[in-house]
């Protein structure tokens, strides 16, 4: 038994040595964790390689919740070198755990002040903002005689009963973004009162943030609380959708970039993070997102409502991150326990 164990260990050691020497001779491989939409990943890597062909990106892509869980699970033994394209609120969690390497990338001054960690040097820098929005299926609305909502409060009117879907904040980053923004817009008591009323109209809660909009696109619900990017994409693919920016203002979060503490490839990681805030990168983000880190470069994006930058609330990310546990528990207590079988 001891011999077998020794055998395993020496194989492991051999594999490690081989792996390291391999890395030293070839191009640098960077393991990059991301929640960027799957369809955009190849483009991102290709554009980066136009300027830095010697660094190969190995993507680890999953939804925000899963990538965050993975990173936290691997806290003691990180596998990622860089995080490129994950919610800032998730990165703040990791910052709190001391998992991020503080680094001021060159060109930091060009970024909008919202789009960077407040610490100096920052632990993360922003890429683009994804904003909450309401996806309304025009065909279904007509069928059920639903007026088009123009504000969050509209969604609590009895006429919408059973026609609204929203993401469960306990499993979706977008869901949490909604909840934390409502509490900031309406104040803590007003926010919960709003959600109490909204809960009466909710047909079902989903696990993912893009699902309500995709369900609205197929007419599975009439109205999906989701984010604008998803609505614009579904509209582009032919869904009878209207993307609404509610008048009270919208919550938002940004996709952001950070270096993982303890990476053995710090130089390559810095190169990538430097590139991630260049004008070229920002123009690339602008192909899908209306609001980007260097906003003066931004051009309007098709199917996106044009009043987004004005509607974005002054989101307090630190507050959201530090109150996350409490808010999620409160939400679960209020709305999740009502999900028992209706007998």
């Amino acid at each position: 038994m001891k011999n077998i164990l020794f055998g395993v260990r020496s194989t492991v050691a051999a594999a490690l040595v081989f792996g390291l020497s391999h890395a030293a001779f070839g191009a640098t491989d960077l393991t990059v964790y991301t929640a960027v939409e799957a369809e955009d990943l190849k483009k991102y890597a290709a554009r980066f390689n136009e300027d830095h062909p010697d660094i190969k990106i190995n993507w680890v892509r999953d939804s925000t919740g899963i990538v965050t869980a993975k990173l936290l699970a691997e806290k003691e033994n990180p596998r990622a070198d860089v995080i490129w394209g994950l919610a800032a609120t998730s990165l703040l969690l990791m910052k709190g755990e001391g998992m991020l390497h503080a680094y001021a990338p060159s060109g930091l001054d060009g970024l909008d002040s919202k789009f960077r960690d407040k610490s100096d040097p920052p632990t993360w820098t922003g890429m683009d903002a994804w904003v909450a929005a309401i996806c309304v299926n025009t065909v279904e609305s007509e069928k059920h005689n639903l007026p088009t909502p123009s504000s969050w409060k509209d969604l609590t009117k009895p006429v919408y009963k059973g026609h609204v879907a929203m993401p469960n904040p306990n499993s979706s980053g977008t869901g949490f973004l909604d909840v934390s923004s409502w509490l900031q817009i309406f104040g803590e008591d007003g926010g919960w009162a709003f959600m109490d009323a909204l809960h009466e109209n909710i047909g079902h809660y989903t696990h993912s943030g893009s699902k309500p909009c995709k369900q609205a696109a197929r007419g599975e619900v009439a109205i999906g609380v989701s984010f604008a990017f998803r609505g614009a994409k579904s509209k582009a693919s032919g869904a009878p959708l209207e993307v609404i920016i509610p008048s009270e203002g919208i919550g938002w979060d940004m996709e952001a970039t950070a270096i993982v503490n303890g990476t053995k490839k710090l130089d390559a990681a810095k190169t990538l993070v430097d590139w991630s805030i260049t004008e070229k990168a920002n123009k690339m983000y602008n192909e899908g997102y209306a609001v980007i880190g260097i906003q003066r470069l931004a051009k309007p994006v098709e199917h996106f409502p044009d009043n987004i930058p004005q509607a974005m609330i002054d989101n307090d990310f630190e507050w959201a991150a530090s109150n996350r546990k409490r808010l999620l528990a409160e939400w679960q207590k209020r709305y999740d326990s009502k999900s028992e079988p209706k007998s």
Binding site: L16, V60, A69, N77, S171, H207, S208, K214, G219, Q332
Partner: protein
């Protein structure tokens, strides 16, 4: 067996030394297999139990995680919901399966092989697939959603229909076996006593099959309670334990609470398993060597009723499958129903694209090859090995344990164990190897039982004769045991392959970007709302599993005609 060896040993000194060097090799191998099970099963489970009594900072908190679990109403409702789904599914599935099995064994209806094949289809698809089909059938835009009379498919109704679809073949296999061992002499006696058909049913048929029914009920219950796919896809806001684990770990990164829910989920599964083992032991005593096989007599009316019933069940199964295939081909349901292959552009979706599909085939092949070797050899050592009784008993126990461990629990346990920085095995984390190991372990028990059953049928004298001819045990193993057991070995490999293609629960925590799997891609695409591509990928899994199954059928017929001829001559 042991006494034979001892007597032979006494007779000749040479033989004794020969068999003891054999023994040493055998003991080494059994330690290897035992070591595998300890690393792949016992230690990860231990890691999970210990995680449930620590807090996120890593300090020991005793049972306080459990207290806070039971003080959270939302989480405790899930226990009730899981039991509710489990019990209703069990009642429905066992009833449907029993009537179908009754038709297969007690009537002379036409088309039995065809209907049996159709009834086995659900084994070849991931449990997410029926949920997806139900959304297309009964969702808000569903093609026949009037059939629900305004009820919502999202929730217990959808979960239960999906689970019935998913568990039906498992119940059917067990109940057919139970009904097949009926003794024709009892029926003759009953008929001679002029008992009515109904009376015979209640006094002969039902008591005869009762252990099969109990066993089927426990298997269905365990599957329904621990399944993750159906509630994830169609559960809506109806929380069950399996989705709670996912939400705790993936949504809230609360690994400690995930471990607590895992332990809670382990309880009903383990309980059902051990009760079933007790019942199984009793059944063996019931079989009589002098039983005469029952040949059903033709009865036009009864045969037609059974045929109609089989057709209805087949429509249910094929309807769900067909709906999925159409869902995959519609360009934009329900607004553009023209057909096309746009939903097969997996590279534009979540879930890893076409790579996932090929990864799944690779993973399933490795699982089938290595799993069959490990399982069969392990069963051989437990069954035919000499001495070392305690270790062999321990291996036997570990081999039975995976049946009681839900996949979600195993997957989570693997994260805790294999990603610990102090564990030298953590190089396995994020590799294909860990997916293969977890899948072999997850499906170990049924494979092990198949191997054990085949090995038990072999006369123990093969080994003693071989020993007296001074043949080393491995020669007997390769020249006699393996060829004789070829059908069982093929069965094990196909079982492992198909399950590796369709499984979601354990691997959902373990895949990496380079090892995304088709079944997980179905889950992730559905999660992102891309339900049509999810259906398309699910059908790819089905076609692959079905293709391999057909290949297996042809192959096993060819091999059987060559290696199993002796069985026919024995029967004659």
């Amino acid at each position: 067996m042991a006494t034979t060896a001892v007597q032979v040993g006494k007779g000749s000194g040479v033989l004794k030394s020969k068999s003891s060097s054999d023994d040493r090799v055998m003991r080494l191998f059994i330690l290897v297999i035992g070591g595998y099970l300890v690393i792949a099963l016992a230690l990860p489970l231990y890691a999970m139990f210990s995680k449930s009594v620590f807090n996120s900072d890593g300090s020991f908190v005793g049972l306080s995680n459990y207290f806070s679990y039971f003080q959270t109403p939302a989480l405790v409702y899930s226990i009730k919901n899981s039991l509710f789904v489990g019990i209703i599914t069990t009642l429905i599935t066992v009833t449907i399966a029993f009537i179908l099995a009754y038709g297969f064994t007690r009537s002379r209806m036409r088309g039995k092989p065809l209907f049996k094949t159709i009834a086995m289809i659900p084994i070849l698809v991931p449990s997410l697939l029926p949920g997806i089909a139900l959304i297309y059938l009964f969702g808000r835009q569903g093609v026949i959603n009037w059939a629900l009379f305004g009820n919502e498919i999202y929730g217990p109704i959808g979960i239960i229909i999906s689970e019935v679809f998913f568990t039906l073949p498992h119940a059917l296999i067990i109940i057919i076996t139970g009904l097949s061992i009926a003794d024709a002499r009892l029926y003759e006696a009953a008929t001679a006593l002029r008992a009515s058909r109904i009376r015979i049913f209640f006094t002969v048929t039902l008591p005869g099959v009762r252990y099969g029914l109990i066993s089927a009920a426990f298997v269905v219950f365990t599957l329904a309670v621990t399944d993750f796919g159906a509630p994830k896809v169609i559960g809506g806001d109806f929380n069950v334990l399996a989705t709670d684990i996912y939400k705790q770990v993936i949504g809230q990164q609360n690994f400690e609470m995930g471990a607590v829910v895992s332990v809670v989920l382990l309880i009903p599964a383990a309980l059902a398993f051990f009760v079933d083992r007790l019942v199984q032991k009793k059944q063996v005593a019931l079989l009589s060597a002098r039983a005469v096989a029952l040949e059903p007599k033709p009865d036009r009316r009864f045969d037609n009723i059974m045929l109609t019933y089989a057709i209805i069940v087949s429509i249910f199964i094929l309807g769900i499958l067909g709906m999925c295939q159409f869902a995959a081909l519609f360009k934009f349901f329900p607004y553009n129903l023209s057909l096309g292959l746009t939903n097969y552009q997996f590279d534009l979706m979540d879930g890893g694209g076409w790579n996932s599909y090929f990864n799944s085939i690779e993973m399933a092949s490795y699982t089938a090859i290595f799993g069959t070797i490990i399982v069969f050899y392990g069963a051989y050592l437990v069954e035919k090995g000499k001495g070392f009784g305690v270790i062999r008993g321990a291996v036997q126990f570990l081999a039975m344990l995976p049946m009681a461990v839900p996949g979600m629990v195993l997957g989570l346990a693997y994260i805790f164990f294999f990603n610990a920085p102090s564990n030298p095995l953590n190089v396995l984390y994020h590799t294909m190897a860990i997916l293969v190991i977890s899948t072999i372990t997850h499906f170990y028990t049924v494979s092990h039982l198949t191997a054990t059953t085949a090995l038990k049928q072999m006369d123990a004298q093969f080994e003693s004769v071989a020993a007296s001819l001074k043949q080393p045990f491995y020669r007997t193993f390769l020249r006699v045991t393996v060829p004789v057991c070829t059908p069982a070995i093929l069965d094990i490999s196909i079982y492992l392959f198909v399950n590796a293609m369709t499984t979601v629960s354990a691997v959902v925590f373990l895949y990496s970007p380079h090892t995304t799997l088709a079944s997980v891609a179905v889950l992730n695409m559905d999660d992102a709302g891309d339900i049509a591509p999810a259906a398309a990928m699910g059908m790819m899994i089905f076609y692959t599993a079905a293709g391999v199954k057909v290949l297996h059928y042809l192959l096993s017929r060819g091999i059987e005609s060559r290696t199993q001829a002796w069985r026919i001559s024995v029967a004659n």
